[in-house]
Symmetry: D2
């Protein structure tokens, strides 16, 4: 019987938390601990690098090398079987799980063969193929939990109630229906003390009832959608780091863990990778004010990073720089001409061109007297956008490079740089701290680094700037030293270790 006063947690175990049988056992023991005194819903990513292996197998199959592809899959299979063997103690459960996964591998092999023959696959088939990663890992976790005596139920995202549009590869849930269905499916289970064990990342199309994936951050999104639908107490995202870090630890070895950050800060940091969440994935919880905690599966005593609304922050809101991020593989497009300033008609044209090509803007800057707009976009999208802007704004025929524009034309040039990176200094409340911009750019200047472009919006949560690729590490290191490490000396902070 369910305890009415018990709190309900949604726990998502990421790929690294399910990396192999040892990791699964560790994750299982965490669930066991929480299950004693709270209601739980467990969401699972694919084990370890399963998804990468699946993609690799696809690639091999597309090149026609079925044998290699099968070998890649057989490696996945080996680790899956070992995981079943070591984590599912109950022998009947074990057999059932084995049989079930065997069937999945047969399905996988068929798809693989199909790809190798067609040398191509549709987005729909890709989603179907990738879904096996989560299906396999989730079934093992479910069986493992069951074999230690917990009441569990395996559910795919679609079975749980997540219904989406038809955008294969990055489906968007139909929120109202999804909320209702999730609640209708999961509440009775929780009330009967059953732990739903749900595949992350995968969902079901509303119209065709086909398997579809939620795209980047999809497992987190699964967890937060569920939490919002059932008004959970907290979402715990179990991962392999002690929390969101003040910088990419591959660049900054002594990057530190952030104890608590706001939803907005977390969304911003996501743009710079780290282990932070996709803005979209955070939205369901942000809307309802449900805290999200990043925890380390392998260091569960450490409190991790708590993402919450500023209203609920312990010890008040901390302001100032919290992290330093960076982003490479980007390029700058520079559009200049005497009359851009003050011409929203031109801006409309530029953005219609971007829209038509499905290209997102990473950074944008126009300063008052410059007659110039600069845009940062992904590097691989540079050529087509530069070509399109030249053609549509300058009326230059790309085949002949002959401009057909009359002398009345307001635009004179579209150029670009493709060897640049974005660096950003992040933290809510830089607003209350004069001098941060000065320190940021002085710090960068001391390294002899030249700045190509700057953007800081009036929300003042981050300052982004563009530098040459080769200067990236130097800039990030210097900024982290200046802002994060120095403040570390001044105030007692949680010392933690990134795994």
């Amino acid at each position: 019987m369910s305890q009415d006063h018990q709190k309900t947690y949604v726990m998502k175990f990421g790929g690294s938390s399910l990396g192999g049988y040892k990791e699964i056992l560790q994750s299982v023991s965490i669930v066991e601990k929480y299950a004693g005194h709270s209601n739980l819903i467990v969401v699972c990513s694919a084990m370890g690098d399963t998804t990468d292996h699946l993609l690799k197998a696809i690639d091999q199959a597309k090149k026609g090398d079925l044998e290699k592809a099968r070998k890649t899959i057989s490696e996945i299979r080996a680790s899956i079987e070992k995981a079943i063997d070591k984590t599912v103690s109950d022998s009947s459960s074990k057999q059932k799980c084995r049989d079930w996964t065997a069937e999945r591998f047969e399905e996988i092999d068929k798809v693989l063969l199909g790809i190798s023959l067609l040398r191509d696959l549709s987005p729909r088939s890709l989603d179907y193929f990738l879904s096996f990663g989560e299906k396999l890992s989730t079934s093992i976790v479910e069986a493992a939990l069951s074999s230690i005596g917990l009441k569990t139920k395996y559910l795919t995202g679609g079975e749980a109630g997540i219904f989406t549009d038809e955008t294969f590869g990055s489906a968007e849930p139909v929120l109202k229906i999804t909320n209702e269905k999730l609640k209708a499916t999961l509440t009775p289970l929780i009330e009967s003390d059953v732990i739903p064990v749900v595949t992350g990342y995968i969902a079901e199309t509303l119209e065709g009832h086909e398997v579809i994936t939620l795209g980047r951050g999809g497992s987190d999104y699964t967890a937060t959608l569920i939490a919002a639908a059932i008004d959970a107490e907290e979402v715990l995202l179990w991962t392999d780091v002690d929390g969101i870090m003040s910088a990419d630890p591959r660049i900054i070895h002594n990057a530190r863990i952030l104890e608590q950050i706001s939803y907005l800060e977390a969304m911003e940091m996501s743009a710079f990778g780290a282990k932070a969440m996709q803005p979209r994935a955070l939205e369901p919880c942000a809307r309802k004010g449900i805290p999200v905690r990043i925890k380390n599966t392998f260091n569960p005593e450490v409190p991790g990073t708590l993402i919450l609304s500023t209203d609920n922050m312990v010890n008040g809101v901390q302001t100032g720089v919290k992290a330093v991020g960076s982003l490479t593989n980007v390029g700058v497009v520079n559009i200049s001409g005497t009359s851009i300033v003050g011409s929203p008609g031109t801006a409309v044209k530029i953005f219609e061109i971007l829209k038509e090509h499905g290209v997102g803007i990473l950074m944008m800057s126009q300063s008052v007297s410059e007659n110039n707009v600069s845009l940062v976009i992904r590097r691989n999208e540079l050529p087509k956008i530069v070509r399109a802007l030249k053609k549509d704004l300058l009326m230059e025929d790309p085949e002949t490079t002959r401009s057909t524009a009359s002398s009345n034309t307001k635009f004179s040039k579209v150029d670009y740089e493709d060897d640049v990176s974005i660096v950003a200094v992040l933290g809510r409340g830089m607003i209350g701290t004069p001098g941060i911009a000065g320190r940021v750019f002085s710090t960068v200047a001391k390294q002899g680094i030249n700045i190509r472009m700057i953007a800081q919006g009036s929300s003042e949560i981050n300052i982004s700037f563009v530098i040459k690729d080769k200067d990236r590490n130097k800039a990030v290191t210097a900024l982290h030293e200046e802002f994060v490490e120095r403040s570390l000396e001044d105030q007692p902070v949680l010392v933690s270790k990134a795994s």
Copy 2:
């Protein structure tokens, strides 16, 4: 007979150079000096603050106070008559000029009476009324030059050959026809040693042959259009300062004169007032590489500021910060929401709203993770734009403040600040000088000033940022000290005095 080897200069005398009879005499003596050894075309602005007085009279007339309006005009008239009396020595010329201006004042009085009765006037009538400022001053200058023995011919802009579209208040010339007509009208005069004396600022509509004005910087534009049409040697813009200054001298008392700057730099500085030129007005010369020189009528030996292409610069191109500008009466609009990043569709919407309301963008910034776009626009346009953005993006009904948007909406907030200014640090080739951004923002920070927004495009000719109004002077002073005055110590520069 014209000397074929003589160079042709287009000289524009600004309002302050024609402020009163003394100033006109000074301007006349300058023309006299050049006339000895070169071909000249003279372009005249309205005398002193005539245009302001005309506008004041309109305002008074619109309020129905005809007497006040007439008094305002009578002040203009008094100074016009005095100017004729003192500058046109030849008595027959004097009488002719007097009669002619008397007729003009009758026309003016009629319009004034009309306005006082209608309490309103159309853009067409406004242009007609304002045109008298240039007509009067130009006729005096023409008569004065004639009475010292120069062969001259008075021409309105339309008579000279400038034909435009129908946009009253800021007409745009129809370039091809204007070029042909200017050449056809002016070349024969020059070849007969006649100095055309042309009204600046005013032109003629191509279709209706009505008087129309060229808008801001219109007299400069008249001069550069003429220079480009006849391939003049140089344009001399006679004004009351020794050149373009490194900062607004009302804020920085020891602002310095810039010896030479590029067209592009001049265009940028124009956004920040100073005595620099409108980008549009500079374009005809920039296209043809004709140098434009800012000269002080009252200090004619000083070389002034030479605006030219970087190719032609003496002593090579100077890089680094050259000037500090600022702009007040602006406001920031801040649009934030989880999914702005990567949504060019949204950007299209925003700029369509701006376009529909005819609102120009002064500054724009979007940084990578912010989920936020910030725009700076003129302050008086803030309310309508904020209202429109709320309505069209957030689907908030401005009457009821009730949002009708579904929970799927991507935008969450549109807010604004209206007590801010833009400050900009300007100078070509900040690109080759790492550390400028750092020094800029450190300098500002040392003053305890908080920065709300930053934009620097990749052309790196200026860094613009937004601060509170109250911090403007402090910021400009500190930056000028740091960048301009300090560099002054290092290198020998032309010391000059702003009048």
Copy 3:
């Protein structure tokens, strides 16, 4: 004290119903008759052709001929004074009314003088000037009603409560506020047995509280806005015809009166002039189901035409052709090219061009295999639209007629005809009557008339087609004979006489 059980009518007297003193007396007697047993609100247009005279005076003044303009106004004044003399019997009222109108004429004279001096006037001044037409007529009617013992109150549209946006010349009411204000102002008056006498056509801007006009059909609109705001029983539009006619009586001498038509039919007929209402003006009543009756001031016993919802129609809904309309001064634009069919992108472009030039579409047709779209627009707008389409779709430089389009271009031709008229056959429920189209086009063909373009939408309330101007009367006559007169023979109808 007001009778609670009394019904409330809104009566609008059009210009012809107030054409001179005799007409005003007739209108007053109508009000008197109704006032005995119902609550009334009276809305007045300008007397007779006052508005045309005002426009004529403006034109004369714009040409500078003040004397002519004053003479035009003095004619208006004479008839106004005569009207006061003959219709306002009470001598004190008469004097008051005389004094009041004298002041108005002084204002008029001032504006006129102003225009003659400026040779131009702004839309705001135009609205102000035109408003005198309604102010004068309404004040006379009010005084006349008062002098026969009725309790009355003169109100301008703004005083009554109609508040609008700032579109001078064709203001749009801010509905919510207008509804509230009208109710708040008028209800207490009615409840005190006072008859509000309201200027039609004119209103007040919400922001600046300036006089503004409602544009075409503005007096009708005033009446229907009031009726909808106070939930009136019926609107009576008093005019000089017995009702809406089956054809333009200038073409068809025995055109007949329509007894009852639906709101939708009335809206459609409005496009073809007649005495029908602007769709916009009918909307407030259509929304609330308040009937609108067209009555003849000079033949008040005739029931006139009742415009109402089909639900409320007496004897059921009549189907079939009811009227034949025509519209000249239009032109056809024809856009053809291999790939228009199936290219909504092209359609978007075409309509953006129309939108940008503020040009409305009167008729539009695209048939399946034609590779061709035909549009009918007002004739005077043809040149600019043809030029714009050639430039933007065909990329033909209108200055050089040289096409810069590559051979990939999908469009090949934009041409037009400017000597054409639209003819339309109108009537709800042509849907239930097969063969009407056949009869329409056979009838036209029998006259040897060639049809250039046809459009009939699926609502099937009208069939519109385009023919040469010279064939218009012939076509209208033949169609009216075929459809209206023939049906006249078959069924007993109200025989009435168009004045």
Copy 4:
């Protein structure tokens, strides 16, 4: 050696002309006959219903029924092998052809297996799979021609030189490059008396060099692209009918053959199926004035239908109705509201919605007073468009059907009909023949058929109207009788028989 004076013909054999070995032999004999006195390029479609069978096999494979799919393919294979056996007399050629096709079938089988495993295929894979139809038929024709002693060369479309964009399923050639390549590849062959035998329908992507198909009418397009590139004398499209017919012979048994029609007429007729050409496919020849002749492979003495420019027509241009077409599986969308007329802003919105959903407009009508726009689109696209219009124009939430629009909204209704057909009466120069519209609609009316919507553009080449599906055959029959058969009696025409 090539005869310089010989004319060059491009011949395309359609699917029915290669339906089986007998048909191939017939086609081969036609080539043989022409080869004697002219240069030839032969373009082949897939044999008979091969493409349909390939699509059927895909469908079966997608459903997972590999066996059925293989059976479908084996049927194709049987007829292919029989065709080789019977048409390739030379035994070495026969063996070579057999071996080559066997390899193709192995490739086909692989793809089929792949599809059956993935249950889906990408557009790229689809194009690859479909390309086998043309490859197989073309290789047989080439071998057959070779074995009767003609010098031939097999070429795919890409090998011949047709290079396209990346739009799989309906690729568009990059014209300039394609023209150059086709000329460079084919001219030397022709000059060496070799007959290029080219696969119709398939081409190669410019960037990735992948197989791609040209979409509807692709084989015709292949032939016309080639003809235009090498300036051929004429294109002969060999098919199984005696020419383009005056109506669909499935509806009208005595439909007649049209002797000669203009390019424009042929383009229009294409919308109504028949055996006419896609406008796009006709364009290359229309641009160069190269005649295109539709010929019957099985009745080669009959001259067929000649498509040419009106300038080149024998016996002058024939005017009047030439054909009656119809189109079913369409639906009408009807958008009505008080203020559509005169609001191009609304039109822009409507067409942007259509564009966004990729929906083409088949027919469009707006008549002057209707406050109503009617659009005809494909029936299967109705639901999404109606939903989108309701949402975006009426602001009705499709989930709740609750309108969030304020009372200011201009639109009131979007409805539709889905049981309708388009019927069209076609023929150049209906312009010179008054009364056609009348006869058209009278004829339809006599059948008791009600017309829902009409559109005739001002080019007057067709009149299209919409009726209920059930009335289609009746309408087409009556119109054909009235216009085509009756005129048949009057004038001597070519009597011919549709196979």
